[in-house]
């Protein structure tokens, strides 16, 4: 059963979309915006960089590295794959 994750508040999007769990950065990609095939492609290409988990509404990426440059890179790369 996939877990439903709730936001803290509508404005606190960063603590929600970009969170830290057990010392690792976690990024969320909404399933209604980012397609499964792209997320799958990303996972296949970069198996060492992160793990992917499926939540009810989001794809959850657990990163092995955690700088803002990395986060920025992954969000833009996923968008790039949608072109």
């Amino acid at each position: 059963m996939e877990k439903k994750v709730k936001r803290n508040s509508p404005r606190s999007f960063l603590p929600f979309l970009i969170q830290e769990e057990k010392g690792k950065k976690v990024l969320r990609f909404h399933k209604g915006v980012y397609s499964q095939s792209v997320i799958q492609k990303l996972a296949d290409e970069h198996t060492a960089a992160f793990r992917i988990q499926s939540e009810e509404e989001y794809w959850k990426l657990i990163l092995t590295r955690s700088s803002w440059e990395d986060i920025s890179y992954w969000y833009n790369y996923v968008l790039y794959l949608h072109r």
Binding site: F13, I18, V33, W68, S72, L79, H82
Partner: protein, 142 residues
């Protein structure tokens, strides 16, 4: 009413622009295309709130004005929305022009396509004939 564009301060990642777009107005491919154009100037995070697509724009260069960046993104949205609409409207004409160009380069292709078209027309007519035959029988029965 939620404003379509707002500037949001964040603790960890600086200031960003939050743009709310109605899915009924702008399709996802249009949003991707507009975002793709600005990948070198901004980090883009997409999210969804009810029926709206939320776009968060973080400028890569501190000197890049957020409002200007947002306006450029909105301009690209209209540009691509127009492009995709025109592409869909002109799809049949584009296909016909391409086919003509290909056929003129290879006449055997034209003959092949003609034969296929005739075959499909015959099949359609046969199917219609069967359909009308069934209806005729139904009308005759009491």
């Amino acid at each position: 009413m939620i404003p379509a564009l707002s500037i949001v301060e964040t603790d960890d990642f600086g200031t960003c622009a939050k743009i709310l777009l109605e899915e009924k107005v702008y399709s996802l491919p249009t949003i991707y295309a507009a975002g793709y154009i600005l990948l070198d100037r901004a980090t883009m995070i997409l999210d969804k709130e009810k029926s709206a697509i939320v776009v968060y724009l973080f400028p890569k260069e501190k000197a890049d004005d957020l409002r200007r960046l947002s306006r450029d993104f909105l301009d690209e949205l209209v540009n691509y929305a127009h492009y995709f609409t025109r592409a869909a409207e002109n799809a049949e004409a584009t296909k016909a022009v391409l086919q003509r160009a290909l056929f003129s380069a290879s006449p055997s292709l034209a003959k092949e396509a003609e034969e296929k078209e005739i075959e499909s027309l015959i099949k359609e007519l046969e199917a219609e004939g069967k359909e009308s035959g069934k209806k005729g029988k139904k009308k005759q029965s009491p």
